[in-house]
Each structure stands twice: as structure tokens, then as C-alpha cells.
Amino acid sequence: MFDVGHSHDYFSEGGEQNLNNEWVLRKVTNKCYRPAGELFLELLEKHPQLKLSFSFTGTVLEQLERWEPEVLAIYQKLVKTGRVEVVAETYHHSLAFFYSLPEFERQVEMHAKQIKRLFGVTPTALRNTELAYTNALSEWAAKKKYKAVLLEGWEPILGWRSPTYVYKPPRGNIKLLLKHYKLSDDIAFRFHDSSWEGWPLTADKFAHWVHSYNGNGQVVNIFIDYETFGEHKWVDTGIFEFVRYLPEKILAHPDTDFVTVSEAATRYDAVGVIDVPHVVTWADTDRDLSAWTGNDLQRSAIEDIYAIEERVLNTGDARLIEDWRKLQTSDHFYYMCTKWHNDGDIHAYFNPYESPYNAYIAFRNALADLSLRAQEAPSKKRPDRQVPEKVRQAPKKAKVTPPSKTTAKKPTRPAMKSAQKPRARKP
């Protein structure tokens, strides 16, 4: 708080700690991005039928380009095989869709430009941050000519139906691909849980489960956090060995192959309509946005960041606008979640802050400074929107600044999600 009005460097804590983005990026690169990327490259060479889909945030690509360019090169090689699809999303891994459609559009466009520049391709399928989905999203995506949107294969929206088919939304000419969350979570969560009845999970066993849908489905959508490979599940769990043998075990059945998400959407007709009037995500048992916007801290933080949109954009100050967008990254709000705070579950693992309250304070301080900058910047247009009163007041108190520790925010743990290996029965 002492730095409000003085230091604008919210995203660069130093030292070996989880608030230092470079340190985290390098750590996760060593455990996951490099070894997993190399493994997939090797597998693509070995299995000409293997297909993969990747969903990279703009943030992680930016960080890789800056700190680990050779690792970025691995992914460029992957895409160059022509068998790896890159999925569209918001550059900043934000929840802008639910707060500001114009900002959402700008971020998706920024991301598409970056993907074009780095990989030479244009995404044709869309996944929103945290798979957060409503009918409105597919309606938007259909207008923008996307072929498919990804979402959670959650029973309340599926009813008696199976996620192993391609569906469509009530409005818009577009396909919906639903995550098979049981099989996905078998890898992403239960893989090394020795109390789970499926443990130990082998490639053979998993392929057998996938093959059991032959004759009763079109696709098995395995969408998982990319950091599952080596970061959430460390190398000693055997996760890489599992992945190494999975393609051949899957392909062993003649009726099974791999498709990318857009290929799946092209290959199959929709068998029915999935209606999702309220937001469904892939998080927690509630599958809603409550992990990000469930408490007052989170709501006040996210509402206030979008409340200054016009003022920030009017400055035309590229750095200021970029900082504002970095503060939109959904992880900031996730860190403020008090659900885990009481129950002590999985959320804590990802949180670089000691408590949701500390996360909120750090965010608020950064936002207070950002608001001040936006206020002081020469505006290209006349700013006509009010900054909320408390936001405007807080920084003014910071007149005298003793030397102090900065409380800057880390924008996000590098988030590279993979929408991986939809598999399909041959027609």
C-alpha cells in the first residue's frame, strides 16, 4: 500500500518465490513445458495418426518468448506438423466475456494475432477461460465463424445424454464439444491417488476405458490442464510414461483414432441441442464461477477493474492498458476465494498468497495505483466516467512513502491449458 502512487511495477517480484513470474515460469518450464513438449514432439513423429489441440494463454506465450525461447520453439515445431491445432481464447486468461463484451473481443483478437505471429495459424475453435460457458458464448462464436466451442460435460446440462457426442447450442451454427470430465480427471486428479479404485492407472487400462465407447459415441474429449504433465503430477508419478504409451494403446483398436477439436466439429453432425442459460465452468463441484466471483472480495475486485475500462482505454497509454489487462487474469480472483480457506482443498496449491485476504489487499493496492495513473494520464478523450470513490481516495493517502516491501501482484501462474486428444471412431 505504501507504494500506491509511487511504484507501478505490479508484476515483478524478485527472488525464489511464487510471486516472481520469471522464477515460476522457469520452474514450470523445467518440470513441464520442456519435457512434455519434447515428449509430444517425439510421439507425433512416432505416430502419424496422433492429433493434439493446444490452448495457450497469451500470457504464457509472452513469458516463454521472453525467458525460454527455445521451449517456445518446441511448440512452434509441434504446430508445424499440421497435426496440432491451436485453440482461440482470451489473451489474458480473463473473464471479460461476463463483464465487458468489447474487451473480451479485443482480447480474443489480441490472442489470435499473437498465435498468427508465433505459429502462422488462425484458430477456428474457441474455449473461454476456465471453460466458462453460456449460450451467449456460442452465439457470439458462431457469428465470428468459429467451428466449435469447448465446454464442460456436466450432467445437469447433459441430462441423460453422453458427452461422447457432438452437440449444438440453441442458437448459432456451431458445434459444441463437451469435456469427458470423468476420464479427464482420472488423469488430471486421480492419476497418483493410491486410494482410488482405478489406481495405478496404466495406458492400457485407460485405453480400454476409451475403447468401451466404441459403438456408443463419436468423441471422447479429454481436456486437461497442461501442467498435469510434470507439474501437478511430478515425473516420479510416472505421468510421462503413461503419456508415452497412451497413443499406441489408443490406436491399437482399429475403430479409434485422434482428431483435433475443429476436425471433430467438421467430421460429425450434432446429435442434439445443449442449452446452457447459466454459466457452467470446469471448476470445483459447483461447476460455476463461484471460485472466481463467489465472495464479496472477488466481486468488488472484478467489478472495479471493469468499472475503469473506459478511463484506462481513453489514456491510449499502452503500458497502462496492458497492466490493466494483466489485472484481469482470472487467477487473481481465484486467489481471493475463501471456499478453500475454510475447507483447505486443492485451491491452496495454486495460491502464491498466504491467504485470500492478502491476495485481495495486493490486488486492491495495484488497482488503486492503476486508477491513479489512469486519472493523471492525459486523456485522449475527455474521461466522462467516474472512478469509484473509494478507489480514488485510497491512493491520495499515500503521500509519504517509507521504504517498504512492495506488495505487487503476480499476474498469473503461467497457464497453458491443453484441450487434448479428442478421439473419434472412424466413420
Binding site: 480457506h341 485510497a394 517498504s404
Partner: protein
């Protein structure tokens, strides 16, 4: 189940958290049908009427009095003063008092009927030990304030340490009031982990018919409250240093220091010396409705303890819906997760937390709501149930 319990103080005539804890625990034990005979070292400290007030099912609680001079916060000067005021028949130093208490305990143990012995903190440990030797009944020691932790203000005494260590060795089980205390028992005293049971203190909500209103802050301002003894290990000086930093950023903040202790003058000078005079109020020792009034007037409670085995005041404040800022060296963090924490030496962080609670209303409100919910779950009934389970296990094992 019948319990012979050795303590050293009991409300309302006490100045420490131990008496409050003993009262809360014994009340819940009695409610759960446990028969407690509570032994106190000094007759003058306790009156029947006082006990009658505290324990409605009074037939289940009996007090025994002994003629020894003991006080948990005894300093040599204080001891001298007390001794001079008495008729000279008392033993000459505190350790003799402890041993007198123990000798008397033996007699009591042989005449009372009970299943298990329960003793609170080092002054009562030898008494518990003597009762065990005399009867062979299982002994449970309850550690509220290990002497290594109190060392922060009183200085370390190896005679006390020796009594503690010997007692832990002889005991059948040791209760620690927080994980912080459990760690001290393991690391400083070498008590094996399997012998230690963490049973947190609970909260006994007091009802006050009339609570006055306190108005000391300007409109839009915020009050930060320190409430506790004014002694080194509670960190009241740290509170003022944090206040000094905070006031530079928000002149609408006000600070209240409530409590008494050997540091009171020093703190007055400290506040005056750094120009905090206008912003700090010294409320002195408060109790009852005044105490509640101050808590209700506060926008946050700050407990910057250097060493705090538990820190019941934080739980009490949280239950009243007051956001809490507590040092990481406080045991109460085990049960009060919805609070802000900082190392006691991190004055800037403490100040930052104070400013944040003052400036960000959603933060204040969420801490207030969640903290209150959490604190109200920390009842003595829960702790008493755990004690009963431990009694049963010890009786069965012997």
C-alpha cells in the same frame, strides 16, 4: 467421570487468560456430566458466592482451598509486597509455595474420589504429580503458557523448565492449547508427539445488558484496537510502531490501547515522542460492558504478540464481528483462519494490514463476517468433548 483438577486462578479474581480458560472448560465439562473437583492454592482468592454465579449446576463443582501464596504473574517485588502484607507464615519463595501446594495436593488426592487428574500449567504440575504418586491415577497436564514462551517478558528460568520437563515425563498425556504450543513441547522439552493432544481454547460469550457507545473516530475514520496486558511479549510497543507508520498514510485512523501492565508509562512516552498523542487513546484496564463497548467501537483488533500460546482476545473480537490482525507467532491462528497475519517484527506489514482494513470495505466486511462465523464455532463444548475422550482413553489405558 470424576476429575480432580489443579489450577491456580479462577475468575473473577485473576488477571490472566488461564483462569478464564479454566472456567470455560470446567463449565462445559460440568454441562457434559463430568464431576469436577477444582483445587485452588489460595483460600483468599475465591469466595463461594463467586463460584455459585459461575457454575449454575454448582453441586457438580466443588472448590478446595489451600493456604499458599501463588500468582502466575508474580514478580519478586510483587511477591515481597504481598508477603509483607501477610502474617509471615508463608514460605519464602515461589518454589517453596509450589512444593507446599504439591504436598497439600497429596492429602486431597487421598481423600477425594476421582478417576483422573488434570493440572493446568507449571505451578500446578507438582500438585498433579503428587496426586498421581499418591493414588496411581492417570495424570493429564494442560499447557497454556510454557515457560519457554513466557521467557520473552519474564526471562528464562531453568528451575521452572526442570519442573515442566519432569512433569511431562511423568504425565500420561499432555494437552497443548495450540499447534504452536505442541511444537514448543516437542522441540524444547522433547515431549513425544504421540503424547500430545492439541485441544484449543474455546470462547465463552458473555452477555452484557447494557453496552455504552464509544465514539472516538472522525467520520470515515477507522479505529484500531490493542487489548491485552501491557507487557513485552504481547507487543503493545509494536502496535504503536505500526500505528506510527499507518497514521502517515491515513490521518483518519485512531488507535486505542486497552490494558494495564508494567509498560504503561513507557507506552505513553513512546506515543508522545513520535507525535501520536492526538491519535492514540489509552483506555487502561477494562472489563465487562466497557470491554465490549471498545470491541464494538473498533474497526479492527490488532494482536502483535511476540509470543502467544493462544490469544483468546482475537477470538473474542472476531466473535463480535471485529476484523483481526494477528502475529504469526499466535496459537489462535489454528482456529482463526479468517484473519490477517504478519510476523510480529514486520511493523510495515502490520501497518499495511491496518490501512487495508480501514480503506477496503469489502475486506473489512468479509473478515468480520467470516471471522465471526469461525469464532462462534470455537466453543468450550467442543474442547470439553475432546477432553472427555482423552480422560476415557487414559482411564482405559491405566
Amino acid at each position: 467421570m470424576r476429575v480432580l483438577m489443579f489450577g491456580w486462578e479462577f475468575p473473577p479474581h485473576n488477571s490472566g487468560g488461564l483462569g478464564v480458560a479454566c472456567r470455560g472448560l470446567t463449565k462445559s465439562l460440568a454441562d457434559a456430566g463430568v464431576h469436577v473437583t477444582f483445587v485452588l492454592p489460595r483460600k483468599t482468592e475465591i469466595t463461594d458466592s463467586h463460584l455459585n454465579v459461575i457454575f449454575p449446576p454448582r453441586e457438580r463443582i466443588h472448590s478446595r482451598y489451600l493456604d499458599v501464596l501463588l500468582s502466575p504473574y508474580l514478580t519478586s517485588t510483587l511477591y515481597e509486597n504481598i508477603r509483607r502484607g501477610m502474617n509471615g507464615s508463608y514460605a519464602l519463595d515461589m518454589f517453596s509455595e509450589v512444593m507446599r501446594y504439591a504436598a497439600a495436593a497429596e492429602d486431597i488426592a487421598l481423600t477425594e474420589h476421582f478417576d483422573v487428574i488434570h493440572a493446568h500449567d507449571w505451578l500446578a504440575f507438582p500438585a498433579g504429580l503428587a496426586a498421581k504418586k499418591a493414588t496411581g491415577k492417570p495424570l493429564i497436564l494442560h499447557v497454556h503458557l510454557p515457560s519457554v514462551d513466557q521467557g520473552a517478558s519474564l526471562g528464562f528460568d531453568d528451575r521452572v523448565f526442570a519442573i515442566e520437563r519432569e512433569s511431562f515425563e511423568a504425565a500420561d498425556a499432555v494437552i497443548a492449547i495450540s499447534h504452536r504450543v505442541r511444537e514448543l513441547l516437542e522441540s524444547k522439552y522433547g515431549v513425544p508427539r504421540e503424547k500430545i493432544y492439541v485441544i484449543h481454547n474455546g470462547l465463552l460469550m458473555e452477555h452484557e445488558d447494557y453496552v455504552p457507545t464509544v465514539k472516538i473516530k472522525p467520520n470515515g475514520g477507522a479505529v484500531a484496537l490493542y487489548m491485552g496486558r501491557l507487557t513485552l511479549h504481547k507487543g503493545p510497543d509494536i502496535f504503536l510502531r505500526a500505528a506510527e507508520v499507518a497514521i502517515r498514510h491515513n490521518t483518519n485512523m485512531r488507535f486505542v490501547v486497552a490494558g494495564s501492565g508494567e509498560m504503561d508509562r513507557q507506552l505513553l512516552y513512546q506515543a508522545a515522542a513520535v507525535g501520536l498523542g492526538r491519535y492514540v487513546f489509552f483506555a487502561g484496564f477494562v472489563r465487562g460492558s466497557e470491554r465490549k463497548a471498545l470491541l464494538r467501537a473498533a474497526d479492527m483488533l490488532v494482536m502483535p504478540s511476540v509470543a502467544e500460546p493462544f490469544g483468546l482476545i482475537a477470538l473474542e473480537a472476531a466473535a463480535e464481528g471485529v476484523p483481526t490482525i494477528i502475529s504469526k507467532q499466535s496459537g489462535v491462528r489454528d482456529v482463526l483462519k479468517n484473519s490477517l497475519a504478519a510476523d510480529f517484527w514486520d511493523v510495515e506489514m502490520l501497518a499495511q494490514h491496518m490501512l487495508a482494513v480501514a480503506a477496503y470495505k469489502p475486506l473489512h466486511d468479509t473478515l468480520a463476517r467470516e471471522g465471526s462465523r469461525e469464532a462462534q464455532q470455537s466453543t468450550w463444548d467442543v474442547s470439553a468433548q475432546r477432553c472427555i475422550a482423552l480422560y476415557t482413553a487414559c482411564v482405559t489405558a491405566s
